[in-house]
Symmetry: C2
Subunit: 420 residues, 2 copies
């Protein structure tokens, strides 16, 4: 089944809002075997909406729209699309009653009449229930089986409605046409602490994966992600092919893999600490709290994370972490000697089993020929055993800091003997 | 002038990559008076590219594409679009020489033959110089003045080429058609520490702005942004109308405004400290380093920021900040008493003039009837004068933490007597 997506709204068209709905729809539909062949974005003008949807309908006979179903009076999506099908709008009393009940439960005062237009639907339309908001979705179909599904633009509502209602409906249509749908599914192995070309060298012939699955190298500040994609086969076959290919990759480069898909290295480090009954503290200079923020971003981190010291100024490294003034004078703030003392100082003063320290030159200023911007020293102290490592990042200030925090997490995981 | 944008690539169509190019193009073009009427995304298939570009060309006669110009051999954008114009591809020796020189400067070893296809251009095409990468852009025009501009997909390169080369060229075409172009420009006043409806009440009649400029309320974790939009007038008129409307808004709600457009509250706080010769430290519990990370994200922050303590566990509040165990036992970690002692402790121990403290319940767990999830206590100590404030956030863990850090910055700015 081939589908087109039309996202609607001046905010999107003018670039004030990033179109996250379109990407989500594409991933979900492709993963279920529905092929998206084009996405279009138009503004709120009814004529623009009508033309774009009519054209898409002529190309594929199956169109999903997002946006333009809200309570504001200038949303003209529904009547524009109803007109393509030659349908009039009518007030749906059931929807109106539900809207009023929802309003009464949440707000004081009378139901605003302007909200009633959410209860206007095209004649002969099927309602797609919205369990995550007020505006219902709409499914409109003609006697030739051509259809348009209208979803709300609010991402949370759109995602809920897609999963709850629309995707099952679309798959039912696809099944009625016979044959098992062919899906596009992907699996990502997340690596860190190793470069893209080193990975490619290690994989060598393994890059020829069973079923010829393509392998994409996606380098970023978190490391290099390896994305496998299976296309053109039924769901079960795709998942099995991804499993096989992922194990072949893991045989070769498993020690650098810290997780799959949306895995987060900070969560992996917390799990490794938790499994060993360890607590953790941080000592951060150039990252200024970023590492602590990443660790504590994870719900339930408080059984592992004690806290840390943001030792941005040298006087704080001395006063709060016990770094010796002599070390700073002799070796500088960005040095192996300093980062080791930061880690040990944090572990001792905060009373944790593990402490992770970062000091570096995030830029744009502050670089020297010896220690250019992007020079980062990392250290981890595990029960008194300190490991230090220098990394060199290439990026802007933000990226250098992110890479420093990620590098510190990778070093910690390795020091804990937990791979990656 | 009306333009369509076509973004090209399987990665975009399948939703693996968010289409940030499309939003950037839309904002820049609208700001210069070029109206975007539709955006489309298609995959890498040459037929899909050709159909989408041909249709767009028929609708507007002016099309900008992004993507598909890189060195990988399956990029077929250029020949697909050349075919629409009935043009053959030819090797451009000047581009090839530049590609080879660029390669030799950056990489060892021979120039890979596959990269040479970046030097293939349609006959009669105009080259758009790429000062930010290797693949040049291409401008193709027929004798009726219909044109397609092809830009690379890498955002940094696309943005550079748009500003350096394409936008001046498009504006020149628009000017040749006579009449001053009408632009869409916006101005955003950023407020924090006050709700959307309170702002609306304060603005009252002021919401009727000169020239009828529409005012959008955009609530988010950083506060409520007020966006003014001027449309349908020449650039100078739009800017003047925005100036007038912004001053009317500032008269009414100026004390809540911390900046315009992309202003960052952390930078505003640093500026306020710098102007008074003050240094700053942080003491963070539930935010775990997020506030420190925001302050140090700003280049040059080291003349103001000394550092801080991430006091996630209660034992760290006591050991590193001198919070009294009795205070924690009597009032709890999330309380006015604790947050005040955290701020004062940080100021004294780090030796700063200002210290900002945050303690709260970020969720999803840890809430009680008295102190539900989202209960945040903030304090700022300026030279020994402590101000504390309780805020209640409604969101997920990440949003509660972001709002807590933003609230702490807002409180600091007010304590420094610097508005907002």
């Amino acid at each position: 089944m081939r589908v087109e997506v039309v996202t609607i709204g001046d905010e999107l068209l003018l670039g004030y809002t990033l179109d996250s709905n379109a990407a989500h729809l594409a991933r979900e539909l492709a993963g279920a075997g529905v092929e998206i062949v084009r996405r279009s974005t138009v503004g709120d003008g009814p004529e623009d909406i009508a033309v774009a949807v009519r054209e898409a309908l002529e190309r594929t006979g199956a169109v999903i729209t997002t946006g333009g179903l809200g309570p504001t009076s200038d949303d003209l999506t529904k009547p524009s699309i109803a007109a393509i099908f030659g349908r009039k709008m009518r007030l749906d009393e059931t929807i109106l009653a539900a809207l009023k009940a929802r309003w009464a439960k949440r707000f004081p005062g009378e139901f605003p009449q302007s909200n009633a237009q959410q209860a206007m639907i095209p004649e002969g339309a099927r309602i797609l229930a919205n369990n995550h908001g007020s505006a219902p979705g709409i499914w409109l179909e003609d006697d030739r089986g051509r259809w348009v599904a209208m979803l709300p633009g609010v991402p949370r509502e759109m995602r809920g409605m897609l999963a709850d209602t629309l995707l099952p409906l679309v798959l039912e249509r696809a099944a009625a046409r016979g044959g098992e749908p062919h899906v596009v599914r992907s699996r990502t192995l997340r690596t860190t602490g190793i470069g893209e070309s080193a990975l490619a060298d290690m994989l060598g012939e393994a890059a020829r994966l069973p079923g010829g699955l393509p392998l994409a190298y996606l380098p970023g500040w978190e490391g290099t992600d390896l994305r496998l994609t299976a296309r053109g086969m039924p769901a079960a076959g795709a998942d099995a092919a991804l499993d096989r290919a992922a194990s072949i990759l893991r045989e070769k480069i498993g020690k650098w893999v810290y997780g799959e898909d949306t895995a987060d290295l900070a969560a992996t480090v917390l799990d490794a600490c938790r499994a060993r009954g360890l607590t953790i503290a941080v000592a951060e200079s150039c990252t200024g709290g970023m590492l602590g923020a990443r660790l504590t971003a994870i719900a339930g981190s408080s059984d592992v994370v004690l806290g840390g010291v943001i030792a941005y100024a040298n006087q704080v490294k001395v006063a709060m972490l016990g770094v010796r003034q002599g070390t700073l004078d002799t070796h500088g703030a960005v040095s192996e000697e300093t980062v080791r003392e930061m880690a040990s100082g944090a572990r001792q003063r905060l009373g944790s089993s593990v402490a992770v320290a970062i000091t570096g030159i995030a830029g744009p200023g502050g670089g020297t020929p010896d220690k250019p911007v992007g020079t980062i020293w990392l250290a981890v102290d595990v029960d008194g055993h300190v490991t230090a490592k220098r990394i060199q990042t290439i990026g802007d200030r933000d990226e250098n800091r992110r890479r420093a925090a990620q590098g510190a997490l990778a070093l910690t995981l390795r020091a804990l003997g937990a791979g990656a």
